[in-house]
C-alpha cells in the first residue's frame, strides 16, 4: 500500500463528496411521518412502476438514437455528415423541462400546430387530429431527446478510436455491414455506450421538471412532495436510498455481464486510422434523413417554439435582466468546472499511482452523488451543515457557519461538486484508461517525478477529455434547476431559475425568453468546443 500525498488527497476528496451521500443513507434509519404509511398503501407501487417504465423507455430510445447517429457519422460519409457530427450534440442545450414546454405548446389544443394548420388550410376542427404528446409518453420523449447526446458523444468517441483493422476483420470474416456493427463495432464500444447510458439512467431518475410538468408520479416527485408537502426529509431520503440501490444494481449487473471480456486494447503502434466509407443513393438519403430528423426533433423544434413565443410576446424580452443572468450563469459554470476538474484530476491520479482497493471502493461510491436527485442533495447538504454547525462549531464556541454555506455561492458550488463529481471523475477516468501504465513508468524512468508526470504527460494527453468534461459540466450547470433554486443566494438568478419561476406561475410564454437564451448560450458553448475537438481529432 502506498500512502503518499496523492493517496491522501484522493482519499479526502472522495470522502468529502461522500458526506451528503452518507447523510442520505443514515437518514434511512430515521423515523418517518405518517405520510410514509399513507403513501405505502396508496401510490408507492405506482411511483415505482412509473419510474421503472420511464427509465427503461428512455434507455431504449437514447441507445437507439445515440448509438445509431454516432455510428452513421463515425463510419460513413454522406451529405451533411460533417455538419451532423457536431450538430447532434446541440440537443444538450435543451433541458427536458424546456422540451416538455415546447412539446405541449406545439401539440396542445389550439397550440402552435393548430395555428400552422389554420394558417395553411383555414378554419377547421384540427385538435382531434393533432396527436397529444403528454403524460408518460411526453415525458419519455422529452427526456430521451434531451439526453441521447450523452450516448452519442461517448459512443462516437469510442467509434473514432476503433482501428480500421477491426472493420477489415469483419469484412474478412464475410460479415455484412449490419453484422459487423452488431458483432464487432458495438461490442468494442460497449464500455463507452454503457457509460453514456449510465449517465442517462441517473439523469432520468433524478429528473423532476419534465415529469412534474406532465404530472407523472415517479419516485422523484414522491421525494419532492414528501419534502414540500409533508416536510418529511427522512422519507425523502428513504426513497432516495431505494433509487441509489437501483442504480448500484444496474452497475453491478453490467459489471457481472462483462466478466473478464476486454472491449478495448492498447495498440502496439499498429493502429490503423479508419477511413470513412462514402455511401451513395438511397443509403445516403436514408442516413441523411435519420440524422436530420433527430437534429430537427431534438434541437430545431424546441428552439423554434421558444423563438416563436419570444417573437410573439416581445415584452417579455425587454423585462429580462439578460446581462446579469449571463454573468451569473458563467460565474457558476467557470467556478464549478474549475473546482471539479482540478479535484477529479487529483483524485484519479491518486487512484492510479496508489492502486489501493479501499481507495478504489471509496471513489466508486463517491461518484454515486449523480444518482441522487438534486433536491435531495441540496436538502442533505443543508441538514449536514445544520448538524455540523450545532454539534461541532457552536460547541467549540465559534460563530455559526451556516451563512457561509447556505444561500451562498460557496454552498452552491459545493453541492454542484457532489452532484457532478461523477461526470468529471468518470470522464477523466476513461481518458486515463487510454494511457497505458507503461507510459507512466517510462516517464519515471526518464527521471520524471509523479508530479511532473502528472503535469507534463497526463494533463496534455487528457486535454481533449477535459474539454469534453467541461462541456458536460457547463451544460449540466446551465440547465440545473433544483439545487440552484434551493441554495442560490438571495436575488441571484440564472436562466434556468427564471424560466422555472415563470412556468410555475403559469406564464409559459414568459418562460420562453430565458429558455431561449439558455438554449442559445448552451448551443454557442457546444459549437465552439465541438469545433475545437473535431480539429484536434484531425477530422
Amino acid at each position: 500500500m502506498k500512502f503518499n500525498s496523492w493517496y491522501i488527497s484522493s482519499f479526502l476528496i472522495s470522502f468529502i463528496v461522500l458526506i451528503p451521500i452518507i447523510t442520505v443513507f443514515t437518514s434511512f434509519f430515521e423515523n418517518t411521518s405518517n405520510y410514509y404509511e399513507i403513501l405505502k398503501n396508496t401510490f408507492l407501487i405506482e411511483y415505482i412502476s412509473n419510474s421503472f417504465i420511464l427509465l427503461i423507455s428512455v434507455l431504449f430510445f437514447t441507445f437507439l438514437i445515440g448509438t445509431g447517429t454516432a455510428y452513421l457519422v463515425s463510419f460513413y460519409k454522406f451529405p451533411g455528415s460533417e455538419f451532423f457530427k457536431w450538430a447532434l450534440i446541440l440537443s444538450f442545450a435543451v433541458p427536458p423541462y424546456i422540451y416538455a414546454y415546447s412539446l405541449t405548446a406545439f401539440f396542445e389544443n389550439y397550440g402552435t400546430a393548430f395555428t400552422i394548420l389554420k394558417n395553411l388550410f383555414g378554419d377547421g376542427n384540427y385538435n382531434k387530429n393533432i396527436p397529444k404528446f403528454d403524460g408518460m409518453f411526453g415525458a419519455i420523449l422529452s427526456i430521451s431527446f434531451s439526453l441521447y447526446a450523452y450516448v452519442y458523444i461517448l459512443a462516437r468517441a469510442s467509434f473514432l478510436y476503433q482501428s480500421q483493422n477491426l472493420i477489415d476483420l469483419g469484412k474478412n470474416l464475410g460479415f455484412s455491414k449490419f453484422k459487423s456493427f452488431c458483432k464487432i463495432i458495438l461490442p468494442a464500444a460497449r464500455p463507452a455506450i454503457v457509460a453514456g447510458l449510465s449517465l442517462v439512467a441517473m439523469e432520468t431518475l433524478a429528473e423532476f421538471g419534465a415529469v412534474d410538468f406532465f404530472s407523472i408520479n415517479t419516485l422523484t416527485t414522491g421525494i419532492y412532495n414528501s419534502w414540500i408537502t409533508f416536510d418529511d426529509l427522512a422519507f425523502a431520503n428513504r426513497v432516495s436510498f431505494f433509487l441509489l440501490l437501483f442504480i448500484f444494481s444496474l452497475f453491478i449487473l453490467e459489471n457481472l455481464s462483462r466478466r473478464k471480456a476486454k472491449y478495448h486494447f492498447n495498440s502496439k503502434g499498429g493502429f490503423k486510422q479508419k477511413e470513412k466509407i462514402k455511401i451513395y443513393g438511397s443509403e445516403a438519403y436514408l442516413a441523411f434523413i435519420f440524422c436530420f430528423l433527430i437534429f430537427f426533433i431534438s434541437f430545431l423544434f424546441p428552439l423554434s417554439q421558444m423563438l416563436y413565443w419570444t417573437l410573439k410576446f416581445p415584452e417579455n424580452l425587454f423585462d429580462l435582466p439578460i446581462i446579469n443572468l449571463v454573468l451569473n450563469t458563467l460565474y457558476l459554470v467557470i467556478l464549478s468546472s474549475f473546482v471539479l476538474i482540478i479535484f477529479s484530476l487529483i483524485s484519479n491520479y491518486g487512484n492510479r499511482v496508489s492502486s489501493n482497493k479501499t481507495l478504489n471502493v471509496l471513489s466508486t461510491l463517491s461518484i454515486s452523488g449523480y444518482a441522487i436527485p438534486g433536491v435531495i442533495l441540496a436538502i442533505a447538504f443543508i441538514t449536514f451543515i445544520a448538524w455540523f454547525d450545532n454539534s461541532i462549531i457552536k460547541s467549540l464556541g465559534f460563530n455559526s457557519i451556516k451563512k457561509i454555506f447556505i444561500g451562498s455561492i460557496l454552498g452552491l458550488v459545493l453541492v454542484y461538486f457532489v452532484r457532478f463529481y461523477s461526470l468529471a471523475f468518470n470522464g477523466i477516468k476513461s481518458g486515463y484508461e487510454k494511457i497505458n501504465i507503461s507510459v507512466d513508468e517510462s516517464a519515471y524512468l526518464l527521471g520524471y517525478s509523479k508530479r511532473k508526470t502528472f503535469m507534463n504527460i497526463h494533463i496534455p494527453f487528457l486535454r481533449n477529455s477535459l474539454l469534453f468534461i467541461v462541456i458536460l459540466i457547463s451544460l449540466e450547470i446551465i440547465r440545473e434547476l433544483p439545487i440552484t433554486l434551493i441554495l442560490r443566494p438571495f436575488n441571484f438568478e440564472t436562466f434556468a431559475t427564471t424560466a422555472y419561476i415563470s412556468a410555475s406561475e403559469d406564464l409559459l410564454e414568459a418562460a420562453a425568453v430565458p429558455s431561449l437564451f439558455l438554449i442559445l448560450i448552451a448551443s454557442l458553448f457546444i459549437i465552439i468546443t465541438s469545433k475545437y475537438i473535431l480539429r484536434e481529432n484531425n477530422e
Partner: protein
C-alpha cells in the same frame, strides 16, 4: 560491498505476491558490458527488468549499482532517482507527442551531462527513423515504435540500460543491421546493458554473458560459447533446442560407446565413472558428413538454413540425430537416402548428464 559495476544477490523477483524467479544472483563486472537474459515467454524476464528499474519492489536479497544498493528489503530508490532506463517491449511512447518530441524528452534526464556520448542525429541514423520523426505514435508501425522507444532510452545515457525484447517487432531484414549498430553504439558509449530476449542468436551476438531462466530459476549464467556448447543442465539443452541427448556408456576417461554411433572420443567437461550410463549431448556440429564412411543412416528430414543444411538422421535404434553440413557441399541428400557419418567420431568437449 563488491567492486562489480552491477550486482544482484539472492533476489526473489515477484509481481504482487507471486514469485516469478527465485533466488537470483549474478553480476556485471565492468561498466559497458552487455548481458542477455534468455528464457521462454512468461517466465519472468520482464519482471527482472522491471524490478531492476525500480518499478517492482523486493523483499529478499539486494540489487546494487555502482556500489550503491538501489533495491533491498529496506531500501528502495524510486525509479526516477536511479539512473536506469528501460525500453519496454510494448509501445510506451507518449501518445500525444511526436516521435521527435518523445526522443528529445529523453535528453532531459541527463541535461547537465558534459560527456555526451550519443547524439540525437547519430541515434536517428543508427535506428533509421528519419521518416517518422514528425509522426505520432499511432501513425507508425510496431517496429518503428520499438525503434523510437529504443532511441529514447539510449539518449538518456543511463548508468544501466534495460532492453525488453528490443527488436522483437523489427523486420528480419533489418534486424541484423540494427543489432550490429546497437552493439557498436553501446560499446562505444560504454553503456552497461541488460537485454531480455527469447532469440538465442540475438543473445549470443549481443551479450558478453548470457543468463538462461527456466523453471523459476536462473539456470546458467555464462559466456555465450559456454551456454551453447557446455550447457549445465538438461533443461538448458532442451530450451536451446540445438542438440539431442543419446544414451551412452562411459568406457574410459576419454571415450564413450553408443549402440548406433560406436566409439566417441573427446574430453569430458565433467568426469563420470567408467561403466556409468549417461545421456550424451550431440549437437549438429559434432558429427561430420563423409560419403565414403561405412557408418550410414537414413535421412528423414533436411532443413535449409542458408549457410548450411541440418540433416536429421534416423539410427537403427530410432534415435534422431541432427548433422550440420555446409550448404556449398558438393551434393545434397534427399529424404530416404543414406547419409555417411565420418569415423572415428571425436567431440572436443563431451557434455553428459
Amino acid at each position: 560491498m563488491s567492486n562489480n559495476f552491477f550486482e544482484i544477490k539472492n533476489v526473489d523477483f515477484k509481481i504482487g505476491n507471486k514469485v516469478k524467479v527465485k533466488n537470483v544472483s549474478f553480476s556485471i563486472e565492468n561498466e559497458g558490458d552487455i548481458i542477455c537474459l534468455l528464457g521462454p515467454s512468461g517466465i519472468g524476464k520482464t519482471t527482472i527488468l522491471r524490478t531492476i528499474a525500480g518499478l517492482e519492489k523486493i523483499n529478499k536479497g539486494s540489487i546494487q549499482l555502482k556500489g550503491k544498493i538501489i533495491s533491498s528489503e529496506k531500501n528502495n530508490v524510486e525509479p526516477e532517482n536511479r539512473n536506469v532506463s528501460l525500453a519496454f517491449q510494448e509501445n510506451s511512447l507518449f501518445p500525444h507527442y511526436t516521435v521527435k518530441k518523445n526522443i528529445i524528452l529523453g535528453t532531459e534526464r541527463n541535461k547537465g551531462l558534459k560527456d555526451k556520448k550519443i547524439s540525437f542525429d547519430e541515434l536517428i541514423d543508427l535506428l533509421n527513423i528519419y521518416q517518422i520523426l514528425d509522426k505520432y505514435p499511432h501513425e507508425i508501425s510496431a517496429g518503428e515504435a520499438q525503434r523510437a522507444a529504443l532511441a529514447r532510452s539510449l539518449i538518456t545515457q543511463p548508468d544501466l540500460l534495460l532492453l525488453d525484447e528490443p527488436l522483437s517487432n523489427v523486420d528480419q531484414s533489418f534486424k541484423e543491421e540494427i543489432q550490429e549498430k546497437l552493439k557498436k553504439i553501446l560499446k562505444n558509449s560504454k553503456i552497461t546493458t541488460i537485454i531480455v530476449t527469447h532469440d538465442s542468436y540475438e543473445a549470443f551476438y549481443l551479450g558478453s554473458k548470457c543468463g538462461i531462466i527456466l523453471d523459476q530459476e536462473l539456470k546458467q549464467f555464462d559466456d555465450p560459447y559456454n551456454v551453447y556448447h557446455l550447457p549445465n543442465s538438461i533443461e538448458v539443452v532442451n530450451f536451446l533446442n540445438r542438440g539431442i541427448l543419446i544414451p551412452a556408456e562411459v568406457t574410459s576417461p576419454k571415450s564413450l560407446e553408443n549402440k548406433d554411433l560406436g566409439t566417441i572420443t573427446g574430453n569430458f567437461v565433467k568426469p563420470f565413472p567408467i561403466g556409468s550410463n549417461v545421456k550424451l549431448l550431440i549437437q549438429p556440429e559434432d558429427l561430420h558428413h563423409d560419403d565414403k564412411s561405412n557408418l550410414k543412416f537414413e535421412v528423414i528430414d533436411r532443413k535449409f538454413r542458408g549457410t548450411n543444411f541440418i540433416y536429421t538422421l534416423k539410427t537403427p535404434t530410432n534415435t534422431l540425430i541432427p548433422v550440420f553440413v555446409h550448404s556449398h557441399h558438393i551434393h545434397q541428400h534427399e529424404v530416404d537416402e543414406k547419409f555417411g557419418v565420418k569415423r572415428p567420431i571425436h567431440i572436443d568437449h563431451i557434455v553428459c548428464f
